[in-house]
């Protein structure tokens, strides 16, 4: 199937955004400047200002001298981007693949729309009619590649279109002015001095000479001028951040009723997101109470989701911590962060698990509380309690595919540790070790440097055998430690790891071999 691309071009888009909201300025000379000072440069002019002799590049003072009744607007990039995004969202009804070049220029992939529109002219007319209906003067170009479609739109009159059939790109571009080539002013002047005034003249230049003069960029420019632009459409992904407010008929006071209303909002919002190929990562629920207070509740999920139930479960957990000062009169749900829906076909492992992971861990958190679901790791330390570290478990990172960096780090650390001699693991080959963290205090009776009797919190016993000491020390940069470890066996057969802490001058039990 031949590729067809439509270019939608709105000239002076930043100026048009402001004029669209202020119809009283339509018959006035208006310019847009980059700042509010009088020395700011004029960036865009409308037709009335141009008629008065104002042109872009002048300072505001110069422009006012030329046209005293001039109305000066200040550029607002955020507003322009917002308006253009709004327009692009609406253009999704023409094509699912839309690329935003700059605010004011968009490319639509219109390949294979023959069944929907009888011919391209009808499609172009509908596009023009639609954008015009939104309040913007538009020009449309259609061709087999992006550059040719942009040139087509650029040379069209307002509210008209140029359609270039496939294979005709080079012929179409031949007579077009060289100024349409996307290069800076200096290079334009350079080409002009060489006598090159049209794209056709540039296209017939030998490749190696263009590359010599313009560098590697020259090869790309030659391709453009010959109508061989093969750059694909880079579809824009919208990161939704929308508010959904629900004003309640009667105020709510119970958790169940709040969850019911939030659920109805989330179901609608998440299905909309899913249709756009997006999934939710973070939401903000704001509960507005009758005493005009606001209670914000942030919910973020580790694994993107489109299941309202997961978010509702997490919201229930958060609501349990909140004491409502009065009844809730308004609920606002805002989707804070979205991400493209991950493709399940590409995931070979844990498909079902990954989908349900959030749900399971939300339920687990509710039962166990935060911070009680842990993932063990081996760390680099000389202290036995330092070697064993339990990190909060992150669903989707530890058991599933993600979290590669930390896992690899832990593996490498574990490898280092296991090759080192371990305190208390020298000869006790049949025993597992149970660690007391923090170590338990013990009282020791010594005779001639040997441990004879040990008393701990709930037991005491005579020591029949002892091994050691193993000396360890470290962390000189902070408080530091110096320990002498012993393995002891009591008369009853129990084996413990005990140490003398030189800094506190105390005996402590590190653990039991079991």
């Amino acid at each position: 199937m031949n590729k067809r691309i439509a270019c939608v071009l709105i000239s002076n888009f930043p100026l048009m955004v402001h004029l669209r909201g202020q119809p009283e300025l339509h018959e006035t000379a208006v310019v847009m400047a980059e700042g509010s000072s009088s020395r700011s440069i004029v960036l865009y002019t409308n037709i009335h200002a141009a008629y008065e002799g104002v042109s872009s590049g002048m300072t505001v003072v110069q422009a006012r001298n030329v046209c005293p009744k001039l109305c000066v607007l200040i550029k607002d990039e955020k507003k322009e981007q917002c308006r253009f995004d709004e327009l692009l969202r609406k253009l999704f009804k023409f094509s699912p693949f839309i690329e935003e070049a700059t605010p004011g220029i968009a490319y639509l992939d219109v390949s294979g729309l023959k069944r929907t529109y009888p011919n391209e002219k009808v499609l172009a007319e509908k596009l023009i009619l639609f954008v015009k209906g939104e309040g913007y003067p538009v020009r449309v170009g259609m061709a087999g590649n992006k550059f040719t479609s942009l040139v087509g739109a650029s040379i069209s009159d307002t509210s008209s279109c140029t359609i270039v059939p496939n294979g005709e790109e080079r012929n179409f571009l031949r007579p077009q002015p060289i100024q349409l080539l996307p290069i800076d002013q200096d290079q334009h002047e350079r080409l002009y001095r060489l006598g090159i005034k049209t794209l056709g003249q540039f296209a017939i230049l030998p490749d190696h000479e263009v590359v010599e003069r313009f560098g590697s960029e020259g090869a790309g420019l030659l391709k453009l001028s010959r109508g061989e632009d093969d750059e694909p459409i880079k579809p824009k992904i919208f990161h939704e951040k929308e508010n959904q407010t629900k004003e309640l008929e009667s105020p709510l006071g119970t958790q169940i009723s709040i969850l019911f209303y939030v659920n109805s909002i989330l179901e609608r919002k998440l299905s909309e997101l899913a249709r756009k190929g997006l999934a939710c990562e973070k939401i903000l629920v704001i509960l507005k109470t009758e005493d005009n207070g606001e209670i914000p509740i942030h919910i973020s999920v580790a694994q993107q989701t489109n299941r309202p139930k997961t978010l509702i479960d997490m919201l229930r957990l958060e609501l349990e911590k909140v004491i409502l000062p009065s009844l809730v009169k308004e609920i606002r749900v805002r989707i804070e962060r979205t991400s493209p829906l991950s493709s399940e076909q590409l995931s070979l492992y844990h498909q079902k698990g990954a989908k349900l992971l959030n749900h399971i861990f939300t339920r687990l958190k509710r039962v166990l509380g935060n911070g009680n679901i842990l993932s063990p790791q081996i760390a680099l330390s000389h202290k036995p309690e330092g070697k064993s570290q339990l990190f909060p478990f992150t669903p989707g990172k530890d058991l599933c595919a993600g979290g590669k960096g930390r896992k690899q780090k832990a593996q490498s650390q574990a490898r280092i540790d296991l090759n080192e001699p371990q305190v208390g693991f020298s000869q006790n080959s049949i025993s597992g070790f149970r660690l007391y963290d923090p170590p338990k205090p013990a009282t020791v009776r010594e005779e001639k440097g040997a441990i004879k009797f040990v008393i701990a919190d709930s037991w005491y016993g005579e020591v029949t055998r002892q091994k050691g000491p193993w000396e360890i020390s470290g962390e000189w940069w902070s408080e530091g430690y110096q320990r002498s470890y012993f393995e002891i066996e009591l008369a009853g057969g129990e084996e413990y790891l005990i140490f003398f802490d030189n800094s506190s001058q105390k005996w402590l039990l590190q653990g039991i071999f079991d």
Binding site: P376, R434, D437, D514
Partner: protein, 216 residues
């Protein structure tokens, strides 16, 4: 009696029952074994390993080797895609010791419940998710009562998940009612070897003993 002989006897008994009671609906797969990887132990256990879908316990006094036996059993489990949940009630789980016993600690999820009831509820959620092969309830030095209702629910979820619930405890810590358990492994230390007695539960009253050397 060797594992092969065990299997032959079981097969013979099945044939006899089927012949005598052709209409009876008997679940022959009631004890699907999960081999522990410790051959002498697998040989004395009636299904040829730990019984899948049931609760078992490992009991032993201090320094008897019960934790070591547990770690060796966990390291020998061959279903690598399912995880191990370790309910650390006493807070004495030491990952380095587990790793030295051969357990891949990346498979282990450590949970620290506030009490036994919360732990059993969490275990039920995990078993129902289907991702857990073994849940260990480390009850060493814990003396709380265990709710029978929760234990029954846990038993049901273990059965559905075809997993195993292992209670690790000392003789004087929280007790599990005997009729809820399919197997009880009593561990004692005998010089540098472990003496494991497989007894009680639904696998018959006969006590089987085996001496193990875990570092072999």
């Amino acid at each position: 009696m060797s594992s092969a002989t065990n299997k032959a006897v079981v097969q013979h008994l099945r044939e006899q029952v089927s012949f005598k009671y052709p209409q009876a609906q008997v679940r022959w797969d009631a004890y699907v074994p999960l081999p522990t990887g410790i051959q002498p132990l697998d040989q004395v256990l009636l299904p040829g390993g730990l019984p899948r879908g049931y609760l078992i316990e490992i009991v032993g006094s201090r320094s008897s080797g019960k934790t070591a036996l547990l770690f060796h059993i966990l390291s020998g489990l061959n279903e690598k895609e399912r995880k191990i949940a370790y309910f650390d009630f006493s807070g004495s789980f030491y990952p380095l010791s587990a790793q030295k016993s051969g357990i891949d600690i990346k498979r282990v999820l450590v949970l620290k419940p506030a009490n036994i009831q919360a732990g059993l509820r969490a275990a039920e959620i995990l078993f129902r998710s289907g991702g857990i092969l073994v849940a260990v309830f480390d009850l060493v030095e814990i003396h709380d009562q265990i709710s029978k209702a929760l234990l029954l629910r846990l038993k049901k979820s273990v059965r559905q998940a075809e997993a195993i619930g292992v209670f690790l405890r000392e003789p004087n810590s929280s007790r599990i009612q005997g009729n809820q358990l399919a197997l009880c492994l009593k561990v004692e230390k005998k010089s540098q070897k472990l003496l494991v007695k497989a007894e009680k539960g639904r696998l018959g009253n006969r006590i089987q003993e085996v001496e193990l050397t875990l570092n072999e």
